[in-house]
């Protein structure tokens, strides 16, 4: 469920197809995101899931799976 929501937000942010987004996708290498895309995306996810992602944690979130796990563990 979390994955689907995250997938939806990423698709919206980056203007790509949800089918192209897997747990293993790297934001920068696979999905073509730039650093500002990632900041925007994390802000949108913080709002969606009512969580806060500190900068030092955000740096470690490289793949979609990293983000999904982070949300699971911090909700």
């Amino acid at each position: 469920m979390i994955f689907e929501k995250v997938q939806e937000k990423i698709a919206e942010q980056l203007g790509i197809d949800t089918d192209d987004i897997t747990m293993e996708s790297s934001f920068i290498e696979d999905l073509g995101a730039d650093s500002l895309d990632i900041v925007e995306l994390l802000m949108a996810l913080e709002e969606e899931f009512d969580i806060e992602i500190p900068d030092e944690e955000a740096e470690k979130l490289v793949t979609v799976g990293d983000v999904v796990d982070y949300i699971k563990n911090n909700q």
Binding site: D34, L36, E40, M43
Partner: protein, 247 residues
């Protein structure tokens, strides 16, 4: 009506250059949020003038150097108008003195209002503009930020800082349709320069090729251009409005 239906926030808009910018934007059809920190009556007068152009206008008190106050202001304007299209970071103060006599407090005050105020407003509004994928940010710097000025090391540092900040943010936000530019006024007739002696004013005027001090409206005209669609392909620039003083 170059700005019809747009919403603009102008900081330090109760007097001087800020006031002229607010009124010129209102005349061009923009709704204007008039930020001020102490001159409530003067700010209210700007609103009274602005609404004569058939736009919405209101005063909003906020200390630009306090991020929370700034964030609240941005939220309030967004809730009320639904978008924020233009931000003008104009609020500024001077505390002139020679370096050897300048107190740490006077340095900090000038940095806090001029430089940090610009940071606070730009940061808070960029969240909104990035989502909109559109926006115009205009920072009021000064030619002294480019050429320096004896007795204004604090002010010149803050204004030079604003120029570096403008260029950096222009690079960061360009891909989101946000234009960030600076205006560097030269010698403009306002309350801020009214304190200067006649001798200094004459000296300044002599160094200006156009041989006259500028008016707040001269700066407002440039701000109107940078706020309008006519400047859509311009970002990260510093536009000197100084009668040719610096070139």
């Amino acid at each position: 009506m170059q700005l019809k239906g747009k919403t603009a926030i102008i900081t330090g808009a109760s007097r001087g250059i800020g006031r002229a910018i607010a009124l010129s934007f209102a005349k061009a059809g923009a709704n204007v949020a008039i930020n001020y920190s102490s001159s409530h009556i003067a700010a209210q007068e700007v609103v009274n003038e602005a609404i004569k152009y058939g736009v919405k206008a209101e005063v909003i008190k906020a200390d630009v150097s306090d991020y929370l106050e700034v964030e609240n202001l941005i939220e309030r304007v967004l809730n009320e108008y639904g978008s924020i299209d233009i931000l003008v970071n104009n609020a500024g103060i001077t505390k002139d003195n020679l370096l050897l006599r300048m107190t740490e407090e006077d340095f900090d005050k000038v940095m806090n209002i001029n430089m940090k105020g610009t940071f606070n407003f730009t940061k808070a509004v960029s969240k909104v503009m990035v989502k909109q994928r559109k926006g115009k940010i205009i920072n009021i710097a000064s030619v002294v930020g480019i050429i320096g000025n004896a007795g204004q090391s604090n002010y010149a540092a803050a204004k030079a800082g604003i120029i570096g900040f403008t260029k950096s943010v222009a690079k960061e936000l360009g891909s989101r349709g946000i234009n960030v530019n600076a205006i560097a006024p030269g010698f403009i007739e306002t309350d801020m320069t009214a304190v200067l002696s006649d001798k200094i004013r004459e000296q300044f005027t002599n160094t200006i090729p156009l041989k006259r001090p500028g008016k707040p409206e001269d700066v407002a005209n440039a701000a109107l251009f940078l706020a309008s669609d006519y400047s859509d392909y311009i970002t990260g620039q510093v536009l000197n409005i100084d009668g040719g003083m610096v070139m």
